[in-house]
């Protein structure tokens, strides 16, 4: 049975009719068109589907969409500021932390949650914060560097 729910994504409220067995990832990508959130392993291992729910990184492939009612959801599409990449996004580009780009939305959102809570993280804290995000282009060093630079420039 479909039900009408409201989801607040990147500050805007969307009304969507869904069945109980839809994940947040499916609703974001298929019903609302936020395809920046990637479907990787689809079983909670790779971190590509990471979004922020009430400021905390979670895996949207494991979250029922109905569990996100009333929550603030942030995706990669909401990161740009007046059409320009956020400082974190810019640092990822400047420091070559993006190769194929598939892990980047999740990486950037995990990093964003970290920097909000801890604006001056140590390298170890950065590595811990992105430990649930796999990059298969082996770009971890560049990614850690980019997050460090973004932290130093006071995002």
């Amino acid at each position: 049975m479909k039900q009408l729910i409201e989801l607040k994504v990147n500050g805007e409220v969307y009304e969507v009719a869904i069945e109980s067995h839809r994940t947040l990832l499916e609703v974001l990508r298929e019903s609302l068109g936020f395809v920046g959130t990637k479907r990787g392993c689809d079983e909670g291992t790779c971190g590509a589907c990471t979004v922020l729910v009430n400021g905390k990184p979670i895996l949207s492939c494991l979250m029922l969409a109905t569990d996100a009612i009333g929550a603030e959801i942030e995706t990669i599409e909401g990161q740009a500021i007046t059409g320009k990449p956020s400082p974190l996004q810019k640092a990822f580009v400047d420091y070559g932390a993006i190769q194929c780009g598939f892990c980047s939305p999740g990486m950037i959102l995990s990093a964003k949650a970290l920097l909000r809570e801890n604006p001056k993280p140590t390298e170890r804290e950065i590595k811990e914060a992105i430990s649930g995000n796999l990059c298969r282009c082996t770009g971890y060093i560049k990614i850690v560097e980019a997050i460090k630079v973004a932290a130093e420039s006071n995002v």
Binding site: S20, E43, G44, G47, P57, I58, L59, L62, L64, G132
Partner: protein
């Protein structure tokens, strides 16, 4: 992977949840964080008609501490909440460590303490996609009559692989189980059956509502041994709680070993070796040796039994050493 179809019920109170469960227990799975169950659903390892979603019950995620009654953790407290709680960090460091080592940050932000304690047992042969399983014969857990992991095995040897469980056992913790008929409290140590298909004694109409830890628990440490620092389940998890009698004589000690065997093991013989004696390298070596005889590890696809057995000894020595340092007395490894 799409989820199978189900209806999701959001109760407002524990009573309402219990009433729903009393009526539909055979077709219902309880969901809290969902980080384990949603994968099981996607892999078609379970196909319930209903999900009973505890998320809508207020106050089920409260953590409170009282000097007399001890610690009470609502089943829906996330593993991240447990890991970061200042009182748990200070008074129950092994529990904080165990919670902080589960999977990855995204999982800890959603996965709950109740879910970790009630985690389904795991096996590399069974915890696979529907497609993968369709290419192999059915094991006990899939309704077959043979174990394909332990040769000649007469039962399912899936492992309880939860990180917080060994820590909770050494802290003498228990869980509150509530059903329409009433509530009961079961020690975490007595919660697991050692049988893979029915890994714990929680009944189909019961809801795990709280984890309770006594105020008098000994302090300790938890060490997780896994291939990767994040994401992986433990190959072995060892928790040790310890109190020292002046100097470095062991007054009391509790040791629990998880993930090596279908049910976590309390290493009582190794405890007996340590009790009343002064800690030394020789004593630790002896305790480690004794512990390996108390545990019969189940083979892992990447870890032979002999390796796991050896690591029980190594980890036990490391954990007792670390617990000793945690006491702030003595200085030996």
């Amino acid at each position: 992977m799409r989820l199978p179809k189900f209806e999701c019920f959001y109760p407002k109170t524990v009573d309402e949840a219990c009433a729903f469960l009393a009526e539909h227990k055979d077709q219902t799975r309880i969901i809290a964080g969902g980080t384990d169950l949603v994968v099981a659903l996607k892999q078609r390892r379970t196909l319930p008609q209903h999900l009973l979603n505890l998320k809508s019950i207020p106050d089920l995620s409260l953590i409170s501490y009282d000097q007399k009654t001890g610690l009470s953790i609502g089943a829906l407290a996330t593993l991240d909440d447990v890991a970061r709680n200042p009182e748990i960090k200070k008074l129950y460091p092994s529990l904080s460590q165990a919670a902080s080592r589960v999977a990855a940050p995204q999982i800890r932000n959603k996965g709950t303490i109740g879910g970790n304690v009630a985690l389904d047992s795991r096996c590399w042969y069974y915890n696979q996609s529907e497609f993968w399983r369709s290419t192999r014969p059915a094991c006990f857990k899939a309704g077959g009559d043979c174990c394909y992991v332990v040769k000649g095995g007469k039962q399912c040897y899936s492992l309880i692989s939860a990180d917080t469980v060994p820590a909770l056992i050494t802290l003498d913790a228990s869980v509150e189980l509530v059903s329409k008929a009433g509530s009961r409290v079961v020690a975490v140590e007595k919660l697991y059956t050692g049988i893979g298909q029915t890994p714990n004694v929680i009944k189909a109409d019961e809801i795990l509502t709280r984890v309770l830890v006594p105020a008098s628990s000994l302090k300790g440490v938890y060490i997780k041994h896994a291939y990767r620092g994040a994401i992986d389940f433990p190959l072995i998890g060892v928790a040790v709680s310890l109190s020292l009698n002046g100097g470095n004589t062991v007054e009391d000690v509790r040791i629990a070993i998880g993930a090596a065997t279908p049910a976590p093991v309390r290493a009582v013989k190794a405890e007996a070796v340590l009790k009343g004696k002064a800690l030394s390298d020789e004593l630790l070596a002896e305790a480690g040796q004794v512990a390996t005889k108390e545990v019969t590890p189940i083979v892992h696809i990447f870890a032979p039994v002999a390796y796991k057995r050896k690591m029980v000894e190594v980890l036990l020595k490391r954990a007792v050493g670390a617990a000793n340092r945690e006491q702030g007395i003595g200085s030996r490894e």
